[in-house]
Symmetry: C2
């Protein structure tokens, strides 16, 4: 195999620079994807900075990959060269733990992250287990597909896992890379949708994306009026909120669900849970089955991320744009490395 041309950070916080590595022979059950484009997720930035203490350097980010199968390893029957596929946060699992056996490959005790201890998709090629290279519907182009594989699946997965129903009133807190997809999914899911955003401009846009109502994130009086009315409240932000007020807005038997990396513990009052039988939960990206269902759903309902494109070689500009909070709503890098 020829070397892989990638972009890597050599140390925490360092700019990405060109980097080549020898991938070695393709292992049994593995595939190699020729990267057409790759979305940029905030986790790429967090990992580049070693915010979570698990980054290995040189570090190649990229876990919103879209491309085509370039090669398949021994024993692979589920994919063939030329297939259009996507790859997200996970690139491998053990296939034998209780979770894998139950169809929850995304909860595998030995799950392998695409950019954790291995090199990701800011490269001309990237590898994964065949199971994790999810086929793309024809209707979804590469640039639109990438962001669905992390931002999209992160907000779609809980709708499946926690049985959100079309008769539910749902809230989405934070209209960014994840939230702008959540609004679209939930509108087509049939729900009544309330967007919570700190930006006046985004409130208008939230309505265009599918929200029936829009509320300012810090408007305590407006949140108070929603008391006990929201069946499913999806928190996509990674900052602390007025948690008691948000939990109070959750309906009896309802749920506050977190998918953002909120740094401080969320203070959950027992009485707020007890009386109304409320739940507080979180979830990671979905597994292969849910990824496939999400892509079908997105294709059927013309759900796409709103993207801004950069050539992959200008990744450092893209990172700065993201870090400045300016991305509307997801950045995609088109490959110009090879």
């Amino acid at each position: 195999m020829p070397p892989i041309h990638a972009l890597a950070a050599k140390a925490p916080g360092a700019k990405l620079e060109r980097f080549q590595y020898e991938p070695g022979p393709l292992g049994p059950g593995q595939v190699e994807i020729k990267v057409a484009s790759c979305g940029v997720c905030h986790s790429d930035l967090s990992m580049r900075n070693n915010d979570w203490g698990m980054t290995q350097y040189p570090f190649v980010p990229g876990h919103e990959v879209a491309g085509t199968i370039a090669a398949v390893g021994p024993g692979v029957t589920s994919a063939k060269v030329g297939d259009r596929v996507g790859l997200g946060w996970y690139s491998g699992c053990c296939h034998s733990c209780r979770q894998c056996l139950g169809g929850d490959h995304n909860l595998c005790v030995a799950g392998e992250g695409t950019i954790v201890g291995r090199h990701g998709g800011f490269a001309d090629r990237v590898r994964c287990q065949a199971l994790w290279a999810t086929p793309l519907p024809d209707a979804i182009d590469f640039a639109s597909a990438g962001p669905l594989f992390c931002g999209g699946i992160t907000v779609f997965n809980p709708l499946v896992q926690f049985d959100v129903r079309p008769t539910h009133r749902v809230g989405v807190v934070g209209i960014g890379g994840l939230g702008h997809l959540a609004l679209q999914f939930l509108n087509k899911w049939g729900c009544e949708v309330i967007a919570f955003t700190s930006s006046d401009a985004k409130r208008e846009e939230a309505r265009r994306l599918g929200a029936h109502h829009a509320v300012a994130t810090r408007d305590d009086a407006a949140i108070e009026r929603l008391k006990k009315s929201i069946d499913f409240l999806l928190v996509t932000v990674n900052v602390s909120l007025n948690w008691p007020a948000y939990i109070d807005a959750v309906a009896p038997k309802g749920r506050l669900h977190v998918v953002g990396a909120v740094p401080e513990p969320i203070p959950v009052g027992a009485f707020a849970l007890l009386g109304a039988q409320r739940e507080v939960s979180g979830s990671p990206v979905g597994g292969p089955r849910v990824l496939g269902d999400m892509l079908d759903f997105a294709a059927r309902h013309s759900i796409r991320p709103m993207i801004e494109s950069f050539p992959m070689s200008r990744v450092n500009e893209a990172f700065e744009h993201l870090h400045a909070g300016k991305a509307r709503y997801r950045i995609v890098l088109n490959n110009d490395l090879a």
Copy 2:
């Protein structure tokens, strides 16, 4: 109607003393229960002390009632004089809100507590809506029935609400009035059961009650060894625990569930929820449907509370015994008031 002979506190923390009140005519849809016995719950003590700021005085405690229907109001067809019934925390609901219409009468927005703003079961008679006087199976005697109506249903209800399965590994934290019933229910539910208790003596008893394993509540090393292994962790205590350790013991897709009135907010880390798709939740006592199912289940499996009996007139001694943490495991007052 003759006056009702009851026991009431005249002020927060005051001893109970004899008290009579005129109940007036029995309203439509209501029944009057002749109280044979009444369990003593820690909430009776909390309410007597106005710990939750919602007590009205004179205050008549008692919400674990067992007895017979003494009279039925206009329109009642579901009960007749002489029926053996029980009455728990709730005595009324609106029958028309979203929760009542969905079968969740216990989550009614206007639910009426048996001892909240009205007089409870430490009396010769007590009233409720007919719906809330749940028929007792013949096999369950009055003294055993009472504690099932609050202590029992509080731990049985979540098994139904949250779909605990016989293949699950479950934990019960706190082996007292609630926990000693939870162990029995869960053993017969088919689960693998782990008891957590701070008392060495209770660890042995926990095994006799149905636990397969028993762990000391504050044994951090033992809890650490359970990491990611407990599908359903039922917390019946009302004190703070080493929450991060207990949440860590919850399996992927598992749940930490609170039914005790834990005073401080539980600090819930987003990462602990996210990665393993965990849930934290709470629930109140169950509604009429689940009460009926619990009684059938208890009758079929010979599940009974372990009780200590006092004459109702000696309620103040009973309260002291409970307050001292000496109850093994539930106190029942046998009526000698009339």
